[in-house]
């Protein structure tokens, strides 16, 4: 009798065990995500009402809202992006369009890689000493924003580079061929074509900023007041301002868990929204897919 026939399936008990393990691990991963999100929502949603979102912590008025922190988060997002986006996009344009392969490019790519690997607490320490003390900005929203600029720079550079790479070379040669100068070509052809990718990078960066805490606690501080005048809205940039994550951390250390869960829900809502938005954008503007769609249509 032949037992080695390939038509008779041999039983492999170890296969069953490994398959079981694969399913188990996948289940664990899914359970962790869903568990955390559901748990936070269940404990935190009840905390959120209009007063929680529109008041600031005040023992005089008996309120414990997070309006100031929401505003601080917005300030830090806007200022960081105003500085980091041009820098990151510029760096990507340099790497993709201007630089010739060599030492400098390798150095820039290596340092960009390094920046994305440095833990945020190190950025926080550096920001505190360099922007806070050496440049004399102290604990302020500006110090925090400058620190976060370093943190999100690699993210924006990477995404812009990716986007520039998907722009077909024929666009470049076409523009240059009819006599456009390089900068004109970049401005009118490359940047608009790469815009969806750049925007995706910016949105991912917003997600990073919203969730960041270790880089901010020693740079932006923990102020939570709303500006009282229009002048105050500008000078606020140089004042201490804690973001949502910092406020959440402080409430946790004070054992105000209900408020902490409330803030956690706000954070998760922002994160989920950003996630959905980037998904939508990458699907909508994926250049390769657009081409495929066009091909299908023409058939």
């Amino acid at each position: 009798m032949q037992t080695n026939s390939i038509y008779i399936k041999k039983k492999h008990p170890s296969d069953a065990v490994l398959t079981g393990l694969i399913y188990l691990c996948a289940l664990i991963s899914i359970f962790i995500v869903v568990g955390i999100i559901v748990y936070v929502f269940v404990r935190g949603v009840g905390q959120i009402d209009w007063t929680f979102l529109t008041t600031v912590k005040s023992s005089k008025n008996g309120t414990y809202g997070i309006a100031g922190n929401l505003l601080n988060t917005l300030y830090i997002i806007i200022i960081t992006l105003l500085i980091a986006t041009p820098l990151g996009v510029g760096a990507a344009i340099y790497l993709n369009e201007y630089a010739k392969p060599g030492r400098l490019v390798r150095a820039i790519e290596f340092t960009t890689e390094t920046l994305s690997g440095i833990p945020s607490i190190i950025f926080g320490m550096f920001g505190m000493v360099f922007f806070g003390t050496t440049l004399g900005l102290g604990y302020s929203i500006l110090t925090g924003a400058l620190t976060l600029t370093l943190l999100i720079l690699p993210l924006i550079t990477r995404n812009t580079q990716e986007a520039l790479r998907t722009v077909p070379d024929s666009y470049r040669s076409g523009a240059l061929g009819i006599g456009a100068t390089k900068w004109y070509m970049i401005r009118t052809i490359l940047l608009p074509s790469a815009m969806p990718g750049i925007i995706t990078g910016v949105i991912l960066a917003i997600g990073r900023i919203v969730g960041e805490s270790a880089a901010l606690i020693f740079t932006a501080g923990s102020g939570y007041f709303l500006p009282k005048s229009i002048g105050g809205a500008f000078s606020k940039i140089l004042e201490s301002g804690g973001t949502l994550t910092i406020e959440m951390y402080l409430r946790m250390t004070n054992a105000e868990y209900d408020a902490a869960f409330g803030i956690a829900v706000v954070l998760l809502v922002i994160v989920l929204f950003i996630n959905a938005l980037t998904k939508f954008l990458t699907k909508r503007f994926d250049v390769t897919r657009l081409d495929e769609r066009r091909k299908k249509k023409s058939k």
Binding site: H12, S29, Y98, L104, T114, F218
Partner: protein, 314 residues
Amino acid sequence: MKQSTSSFSIVGSSKAKTLTERIAARIFLVCGVFAILAVVLITAYMIIQGAPALGQVGIGEILLGTVWKPTAADPSFGILYIILTSIIGTALALVIGVPIGLFTAIFLSEVAPKRLVKIVKPIIELLAGIPSVVYGLVGLLVLNPLMYKLEMAVFKGSTTHQWTGGANLLCAVLVLAIMILPTVINISQSALEAVPRDYRMTSLALGATKIQTIFHVTLPAAKSGIATAVVLGVGRAIGEAMAITMVAGNSVNLPLPFNSVRFLTTAMVSEMSYSSGLHRKVLFTIGLVLFAFIMVINLVLSRIMKKGAQDADK
């Protein structure tokens, strides 16, 4: 017809235009060099801030000392336990996180039907977006009580055990293991998916089962990508601060599972705000140690990637 003098003409080549061109090229160069400048500045500042204490207290005393009493009248600044905690904590987090992450990646890339992947993948991607303070909060209120129960079961009747209320190394390790999952899953999945289909087909045609193919053909072929995933996981775990500040107990101890411990990162978070003088300098030394670890990890990473690229060329 009047000749257009619009500066938008792309044909003319006025002096102003070549100047704009040159300025544009310069500006882009500056943007590019900014990353180098940032890394050089950060490195310089970490060394300037962190190195003096090594001289003042003594390298051996700081790195090999086990007593951490920075505010005592006769202060002592030994950070050996803190360093060991970070190393052992990271290693244990990898022991738990890497298998779960790798198997999940196998599930997503090799086993699950496409339709299921479309649902599961976005859910798992959410893990990367959850802020670390939220992990800290959930760890504090869910894992800590569980750990406390475990602690009571293990050390029942013990008189020598220092009770931690569940805030211990094990708890921090679990939080870290969860936090490295998205990194490990994402990178290993892309590595597995990059393995050419022919490999799998050949193996299956030779009579290997699907599972044999995965573990004997696909995984070895993706090894440099998986190594990258693990190293990135190490970086993520050793650098994480806020999530484990709350759950690790935060006293300086030998890193045993049920001890309250302090990591390199949490040492900085918990004392930076009130430190001054030599104490502050030593905190920066801790930062420098962490920075050194990260730089080593970065070097290993670029080595692996270079090797992976070479293997792919072969």
